[in-house]
């Protein structure tokens, strides 16, 4: 056979072989994996550039990657960062399946390079680069790499969530702004409208969530129900999401996951839940035109449960975790008390006394002298803002009471009524506590505090003072809420000893 028929035959044969390879490749890859013939997973669903570089360059990829890595190191030493995003992109494209390459490059950008800049906007850009590298490229190229999920969660928890970086508040504000594109600015995030979007706006926001932030609203809701309620505009919620997703991925590939990786993922979850408790609620301050953070008190039962679960699963750190749990419960009690949720505070105080019967709540320097069962809830909470009422000078006590009352009015102005009532209650208790320790008689007049109502009136006068007080819009809100008309001179004195929010005291 020669000429044209031969060529046609060869072409047909080539096409048939190619088709055969196409169908066989999948099972070959599975066999490779099952029989342990390859150390790494074959690259799947890779973008064309990535697929090309990994296949076309073969063994030379490592060499080129090393050269680029050396160049990146040299440039970094010379403080030339403008090439770093490009070099990280090339290095990870050349070695897409080495998980540590992704981790190191992302860490370098988010941690090492970001702090080299004084401008917080510049820093935020590099933190974003690190996040995006892991989220947008690292995870798609290594969908079962638990370490990448852990690292991503850690960036949210530590780099953005913790306060180690001077720019952490800027990061939080920027992230809240980004999330506002998905959830809207002022309302509480609604996951249901993103799971089943009805309007064009909802559809666009759901698409943004899936395509830009690579998050699944269905799984977000699962996480929210299991570990929340969470404030999705804050980084902690995202730390929990990515760690939970890592755990889910790990559950699908149990043979490829190390036990310690699972522990670190769970650690991210309960630590982020703890952070979420401390300041996992966004409070809109319309006067400062910025967000403020408040504690997320609804999450307390789940955080407590997460600690207990982590302690049970992590034998090496069992005692440390329980110690952290104990401290968390103490904080939770105080926060609940401060937010006027007295019955919840009492519940957790009882829980503390039962779970940790020997835990001291007052004087930690004398173990065993102040277990929860022998100290009242009021005593404990007052001691939190003032370690030793007896030894504290009168002026400091009065300043503390004034501070609490001012906080109460400030909270009232931004619709944090529960917190306002709690602060007022704490101030009243502090006043009662101090005065109860002074014996009756002439001495009481000399070292005693001014009447509580007088202090309260003075604080209200200060905050409503048109010249030196709060901003006009804050004053207007307070006047309305307190039902006061006219100037501060005519402001009625709040009833002394009330447990209600300042606004409610006059109703």
């Amino acid at each position: 056979m020669s000429g044209r028929p031969k060529k046609l035959l060869l072409l047909t044969l080539a096409a048939a072989l190619l088709a055969g390879v196409f169908f066989l490749q999948g099972s070959l890859n599975r066999d490779r994996e099952q029989l342990g013939l390859t150390r790494m997973q074959p690259l799947e669903n890779a973008p064309p550039v990535l697929a090309f570089t990994t296949v076309a360059l073969g063994g030379f990829r490592g060499l080129i990657s090393n050269m680029l890595w050396i160049r990146a190191g040299d440039l970094q030493e010379q403080d030339k960062f403008f090439e770093m995003a490009q070099l990280a992109d090339w290095i990870t494209k050349l070695e897409p399946q080495y998980v540590h390459v992704w981790l190191v490059q992302a860490w370098n950008m988010a941690y090492n390079i970001s702090v080299k800049f004084t401008d917080f906007g510049d820093r935020w850009r590099w933190v974003q680069r690190g996040l995006e590298l892991l989220r947008d490229q690292g995870i798609p190229a290594n969908q079962n790499a638990v370490l990448i999920y852990r690292e991503l969660a850690w960036f949210f928890q530590h780099k953005m969530g913790a306060n180690l970086d001077d720019a952490n508040m800027y990061y939080k504000q920027q992230w809240a702004n980004e999330m506002a594109q998905v959830f809207g600015k002022l309302k509480k995030p609604d996951l249901d409208e993103l799971i089943n979007p009805q309007t064009d706006d909802q559809k666009a926001r759901a698409r943004l969530l899936r395509e830009k932030f690579k998050m699944d609203p269905v799984f977000m809701k699962e996480v929210d129900q299991h570990d929340g309620p969470l404030e999705w505009r804050l980084p902690e919620a995202h730390a929990i999401y990515w760690a939970a997703l890592g755990l889910k991925i790990a559950a699908n590939n149990p043979s490829k996951v190390k036990a310690e990786d699972l522990i670190t993922l769970r650690r991210v979850i309960y630590q982020s839940m703890q952070l979420s408790f401390y300041r996992g609620r966004l409070v809109n301050n319309p006067f400062a035109k910025a967000f403020e953070f408040g504690p997320n008190l609804d999450i307390i039962p789940k955080v407590s449960a997460a600690y207990e679960q982590a302690a049970a699963e992590d034998a090496a750190y069992h005692d440390h975790i329980l110690q952290a749990h104990k401290n968390f419960i103490k904080d939770a009690i105080y926060f609940l008390y401060e937010y006027n949720r007295i019955s919840d505070a009492a519940y957790w105080y009882k829980y503390l006394a039962e779970k940790y019967p020997n835990a001291d709540v007052l004087d930690y320097s004398k173990p065993g002298t102040s277990p929860a069962r022998s100290v009242s809830l009021d005593q404990y909470c007052i001691s939190r803002i003032q370690d030793d009422v007896n030894g504290t000078p009168r002026d400091r006590i009065e300043a503390t009471i004034e501070g609490q009352i001012m906080t109460a009015y400030r909270c009232l102005a931004i619709d944090e009524d529960e917190h306002a009532a709690g602060c007022k209650l704490l101030a009243q208790r502090l006043w009662d506590n101090y005065m109860s320790r002074i014996p009756a008689g002439d001495r009481r007049k000399a070292v005693g505090l001014r009447p509580f109502a007088e202090i309260d009136r003075e604080m209200l006068r200060r905050i409503l003072d048109p010249e030196h007080g709060a901003a006009p819009e804050v004053r207007a809100v307070l006047l309305t809420k307190l039902g006061i008309r006219g100037d501060t001179a005519r402001a009625p004195a709040p009833a002394p000893g009330t447990n209600a929010a300042p606004g409610q005291a006059h109703e």
């Binding site: 403008f82 090439e83 490009q86 702090v115 080299k116 004084t118 850009r125 590099w126 970086d165 001077d166």
Partner: protein, 464 residues
């Protein structure tokens, strides 16, 4: 000259005949236009411009460099191998004229290609800059698309040496035995370092000594213009956040107005740039700067590069042209190298030899390391030990000499200067011209001309 031009013209014609000019020009233009589409920047206009300048000019230099070397080797070696040079050699034209004419032809070809591609880069930069919002445009023109001069504090070496000598004398007077027992050179070095540290140190909770930077005659055109401060410091102790606070204050009342920064968050061991408000220097052009250290650890601002003031000193365009001038000097050297190799060797060997030399030059970092460590046997940083090899006796001095020669050409960084908004000066261009073209290319050229003059051209066999 006419003969030189004639040979140069023949080289041009050959470049067109072999479509070399068109291919290289096409490649250069593709790289200039294509790179901006491929590269990933840091997200800022400044970063994008820096990476664009660096990558496009580096790509142009690399492409042009290789093609120059290839063309230089090819044009002469193949002329000799294919016996075409015999047509020239029998004419009333000297061998050195043939050599020099070819060199001129290649360099002029490079000049045109460089101008073409660099013109596109310049146009691209300006076009993109114009499309930016005004504030970013301003930042770009202040920091990158600008030619900035630099001023530092006066040199304190004399004072430091005098003080170190005085302290050493006092110490020896107190303890004369030390004269015999101690390594005096080392003792003096340590005293000098401690004296120097006193100039560099900013104690915790204290302001620095005033850094007085004389702007010289530049003050005359800097009225009303913001300047830039570039600082770098080392910290005595690490910080958990990786950054330290600092407050910068400018001016010296009542001689000048003053300005102060808020508390800045700065990382150690890295350069930070800040804008200095205009008109804070005095009538003599002295700008006074102090740094407040609110941290709990001492900070050290190195005398060499700790504090530097950058000021606008000219347009980006002229600086860009001078930088291209330096790149052309490199091309001239590569052309001389290729021609010199081809004067003596056949085309493949000449090309291999020239590329080998180029690779050696590009790996001068390895040589520098070996020279610094004093051995090629490797250094163990963990144990702080060095190996040794008998070969070091020969290799290290050879490397040292080679580095000296290489640095004559490589000690210029026009692309780097452009991307950081530094001015490429006429002095730098003049130095590049004298060191790279006159000295290095001239020496290589003389060797090449000598080799070509001595070569038996009629002995070559025509390649069919």
């Amino acid at each position: 000259m006419q003969r030189l031009y004639a040979i140069a013209w023949l080289t041009w014609k050959a470049a067109f005949r072999f479509r070399l000019f068109l291919v290289i020009a096409g490649l250069l233009l593709v790289s200039v236009v294509g790179l901006p589409l491929l590269i990933k920047d840091d997200g800022t206009a400044r970063g994008f411009t820096q990476i664009l300048l660096t990558y496009t000019l580096t790509a142009i230099t690399a492409l042009l460099g290789f093609s120059t070397l290839w063309l230089a080797c090819g044009t002469l070696a193949r002329d000799i191998e294919e016996c075409q040079i015999q047509m020239l050699a029998v004419k009333p034209i000297a061998r050195w004229q043939i050599w020099l004419g070819k060199w001129l032809g290649i360099v002029s070809l490079d000049a045109v290609l460089l101008a073409l591609s660099a013109g596109c880069v310049y146009g691209l930069l300006q076009w993109r800059a114009h499309r930016l919002p005004p504030d970013q445009q301003q930042a770009l023109r202040n920091e990158v698309l600008v030619a900035r001069g630099s001023a530092r504090e006066k040199n304190f070496d004399k004072e430091i040496d005098a003080r170190a000598d005085q302290l050493l004398r006092e110490r020896l007077e107190k303890n004369p035995l030390e004269t015999r027992q101690a390594n005096l050179g080392e003792v003096r070095r340590q005293i000098r370092e401690s004296v120097k540290a006193a100039y560099e140190l900013v104690r915790p909770g204290s302001p620095s000594r005033p850094w007085r930077i004389n702007l010289g005659s530049a003050r005359l055109h800097l009225r009303g213009q913001p300047l830039s401060l570039r600082v770098k410091f080392n910290a005595a102790e690490g910080s958990a956040s990786g950054t330290y606070g600092g407050i910068l204050a400018f001016g010296e009342p009542p001689k000048t107005k003053t300005a102060q920064s808020p508390v800045l968050s700065m990382a150690p061991d890295t350069f930070h740039e800040f804008i200095i408000p205009p008109d804070l220097f005095d009538a003599d052009g002295v700008l006074t700067i102090t740094f407040g250290n609110p941290n709990e650890t001492a900070l050290l601002f190195p005398l060499e590069d700790g504090v530097e003031v950058l000021y606008p000193e000219g347009g980006f365009g002229p600086s860009f042209v001078r930088a291209l001038g330096i790149i052309l000097c490199w091309m001239a050297l590569l052309a001389a190298l290729g021609l010199a190799s081809a004067s003596l060797l056949s085309f493949p060997v000449a090309a291999f030899f020239s590329l080998g030399l180029l690779a050696m030059t590009l790996s001068s970092g390895t040589m520098a390391n070996a020279v610094e460590e004093g051995t090629i046997a490797g250094y163990n940083p963990e144990k702080n030990t060095r190996g040794s090899s008998p070969v070091d006796l020969v290799v290290i001095p050879t490397f040292r000499a080679a580095l000296k020669v290489i640095r004559l050409a490589m000690d210029f960084s026009p692309v780097d200067s452009l991307s950081t908004g530094r001015r490429v000066t006429w002095t730098q261009l003049g130095l590049a011209l004298s060191q790279i073209v006159v000295l290095m290319a001239g020496s290589v050229g003389l060797l090449g001309i000598f080799a070509l003059s001595r070569r038996e051209l009629a002995g070559a066999q025509a390649v069919q």
